[in-house]
């Protein structure tokens, strides 16, 4: 019998003699959680670089932080990414009830809102490029674009992963492998909301102070 299964409201001990089979889902989500922590350290490095390079000195005569960030525009991205994460989270509430249609609907909503987020980000990049603010303009803009695009790239891969999971849910149902992947995707997607909190506050809001 698999461990950590709630039965009659009781949680069996983590391990005791005779329970040789390990918790497959728990092992997969913990492994993925450790990956997310290392991914968070990648963002810590990018934020550290940005915290150094956002000095006026590093604008190299080009646009400075307050000239490239638009907090109100970024607020629409905030609504989009948080709503997308909320939609996927609700999909996992449907998973809890074994509701396949609910999971599919939640994922479709999350995909739509994620696409809106990326559209807004690409539009912002396009207007900056049009104004001559590119990653090659200055050290500050290199750090700015790398940080924002790294988060955006995570969003792209999250959306691709969601499309794959849509097919798997429809084809295989809630097998152990599919459920583990849906839980890992929830970690990954909710992590994007946490990174965006830092991006919004420490890039878009701090830039106007």
């Amino acid at each position: 019998m698999q461990m950590n299964i709630v039965k009659d409201g009781k949680i069996p001990p983590l391990w005791h003699y005779g329970h040789e089979e390990h918790d497959v889902i728990g092992a997969k989500t913990f492994g993925f959680w450790l990956y997310m922590l290392s991914d968070a350290l990648l963002f810590a490095g990018l934020f550290a670089a940005y915290g150094v390079l956002d000095h006026t000195m590093n604008a190299a005569g080009g646009p400075t932080e307050s000239q490239v960030v638009h907090p109100i525009a970024a607020t629409w991205q905030t609504f989009a990414v948080l709503s997308s994460v909320f939609a996927y989270s609700l999909a996992t509430v449907a998973l809890k009830r074994g509701n396949r249609a609910g999971v599919v609907l939640g994922m479709l909503a999350a995909i739509g809102l994620g696409v809106v987020f990326l559209g807004l980000e690409l539009a912002d990049f396009a207007s900056l490029f049009h104004a001559g603010a590119t990653p090659f303009t200055s050290g500050f803009l290199s750090a700015f674009f790398v940080l924002i695009a790294s988060h955006g790239l995570h969003m792209v891969f999250g959306l691709l992963w969601m499309l794959v999971m849509l097919v798997q849910v429809l084809r295989f149902g809630f097998s152990t492998a599919v459920v583990a992947q849906l839980l890992n995707l929830r970690l990954f997607w909710q992590f994007q909301a946490s990174v965006w909190v830092c991006v919004y506050v420490f890039v878009y809001l701090k830039g106007t102070i």
């Binding site: 922590l37 550290a48 915290g51 701090k206």
Partner: protein, 129 residues
Amino acid sequence: MATHQPDPVLHPEVQQASFTGYTVGFVLSLALLMAALLITEQHALPPLKLLGAISALAMVALFAQCFLFFGLNIALHNIWKSVSLVLTVPLFILTIGLTVWMFHELDSLTMLPGASVMPGMNMQPTLLQ
């Protein structure tokens, strides 16, 4: 070997999903970020205090997400996630805090006055000139 495969939907990490928790997490995150936007747009505080205030709001939002989104707690199936995050937090502080502090010191000790205003202009003569 087990003779039957338990229903994966009954796994505690599936069952920890909470409509109320996610709704509160979503609304709280939005409310905190909108509060940060409001005080920034209105310049409600002096710059340094404003930075402190929006940083505090961001930290509260991240805490809320840890509990309400990630569902971190000390339950049997979650405790090692919580412990590994707690052990990683000092690494975030070291990576970001020390890097910014080092370059702040470098800036105040070596950067030439006026260079940040007009790059390449208004330079003080060096000892070699």
